[in-house]
Symmetry: C2
Subunit: 254 residues, 2 copies
DNA sequence: ACGCATTTGTTCGTATGTATT
DNA sequence: TAATACATACGAACAAATGCG
């Protein structure tokens, strides 16, 4: 068995990865493919390392390294003794994976959600550009309000590609218990795996002020999020306005 | 050679790690110790994997895993063919490791810095609490202004433990080219390795407004940072006020 | 300009430990 | 208790990048 450390020949199962990348990177790309193609769904276990090693004809260690990176990127979750699972926005234990807002004091109380609006319309230019839509293509706009202890804290405007979210209605959103991204996973097969945020301080306009129960002109945190799914494809543009009197956005640097 | 996977006996070089942790975790703790004790300084190379393996009497792979984690945490930097180096706030090439502010358009132009104040005084209660100081202990307060394209953007109030920063003066700060954290490393042996930030939107008070050249009451981003060194010891409390009209705070979620 | 030694990076194989069911 | 799956640890070999003579 001499050809251990050579790149695999682009023969049978040639993947999307450039042929001259390390084996484990190629395996990683193949795994992402299977995730993308819903071979394994969020929350499910993927095959064991040994099974995958057999399937791809590589050693367990190589599969391990591929999985290690996917786990580090948050696509997979390892659980000793149980298996390796596809990451999901469900459970995710403590809280919403992407929500970085925390109360200044006390534990993160559960938030109440109210859907203010949910409509289909043509994507404005800026939204179309961000979501890689053709100009004039359909988009869904969701507007919602998050409250903690009865006080409004977050006003979200959420833009989604219309083609991916056929049948998304205010009723469906309101009826859903649990994170919205969980609904997107289970109902529309869209999985948010990564996002970039741009944060600014802005002054509340009159309409916003009323919704968030603050004075017009009050400082608000503006959080613009572009969420991506597999292959870095953008699938959500979100603009949140956070009232940060009793809450803050937390971040860790390293 | 039967005793491969057993925890090392707490004999010769017993470390800080609990005796029942994986070998590579123990090695990791020993490496952190050496970093903490300045056996290797920022920017320097640590011994090669084989040397370390010999020193600790473990396999290269075990050292590798320890180094892998330290690299993932940002304490070390690996460079193929050259060695593994102690992370530093110097070079760090592109930009300041911890500064997340980016211009809305264009590349990150270099910022001009102006030190407004640098004085020693007793730490206020809140600062003392955050920095683990006894109440009334000495602290250094630095106030500075960052500008981009001639326009002020960031006003920083920086609190440091007086005991660690003896001899820090406005002159020393002003004379320094390069990141402030680089000065802290080289001059005071204090290395910031991790930080937590709490972000809010606030209204500019009169004094701040003048310094940042905005209207009083204008919305500003308030960024409170607690920086830590080895062993999670807090060594800096910083409060920055960012003018986010032409800039934003960027963040990545995953 | 070439080649060699060094150092990290990749890959395999094997055995054993530990958590879960 | 046994089987399964991930976690740890060892050893060995070759690849790729770097720096030096």
């Amino acid at each position: 068995m001499p050809s251990a450390a050579h790149p695999v020949e682009p023969s049978a199962d040639a993947g999307a990865a450039p042929a001259f990348s390390p084996l484990y990177q190629q395996i990683k790309a193949l795994l992402v493919r299977s995730l993308q193609g819903s071979e394994w769904r969020p929350g499910e276990a993927i095959p064991s390392e040994l099974e995958l090693a057999a399937r791809f004809k590589v050693s367990q260690g190589t599969v391990r390294k591929a999985i290690d990176e996917l786990a580090a990127e948050g696509l997979l979750v390892r659980r000793q003794g149980k298996g390796t699972f596809v990451a999901t926005h469900a459970e995710q234990t403590v809280q919403y994976r992407f929500l970085r807002l925390a109360p200044d004091e006390g534990a993160t109380a559960p938030v109440e959600r109210r859907v203010l609006d949910c409509r289909r319309l043509r994507a404005p230019a800026e939204v179309a550009r961000a979501l890689d839509l053709k100009s004039g293509e359909a988009a869904v706009l969701v507007r919602r309000l998050l409250s903690a202890q009865g006080r409004p804290v977050v006003l979200d405007d959420i833009w989604l590609p219309g083609a991916l979210f056929k049948g998304l209605t205010a009723e469906k959103l309101s009826g859903w218990r649990g994170p919205m991204y969980e609904l997107f996973e289970s109902e529309f097969g869209v999985r948010m795996i990564r996002a970039e945020e741009q944060i600014r301080a802005v002054a509340a306009d009159a309409a916003t002020a009323q919704l968030l129960a603050v004075e017009p002109g009050a400082p608000l945190l503006s959080v613009e999020r572009l969420s991506r799914t597999y292959g870095d494809k953008p699938v959500e543009l979100r603009r949140g306005l956070y009232h940060t009197a009793q809450h803050h956005y937390r971040n860790e640097l390293s």
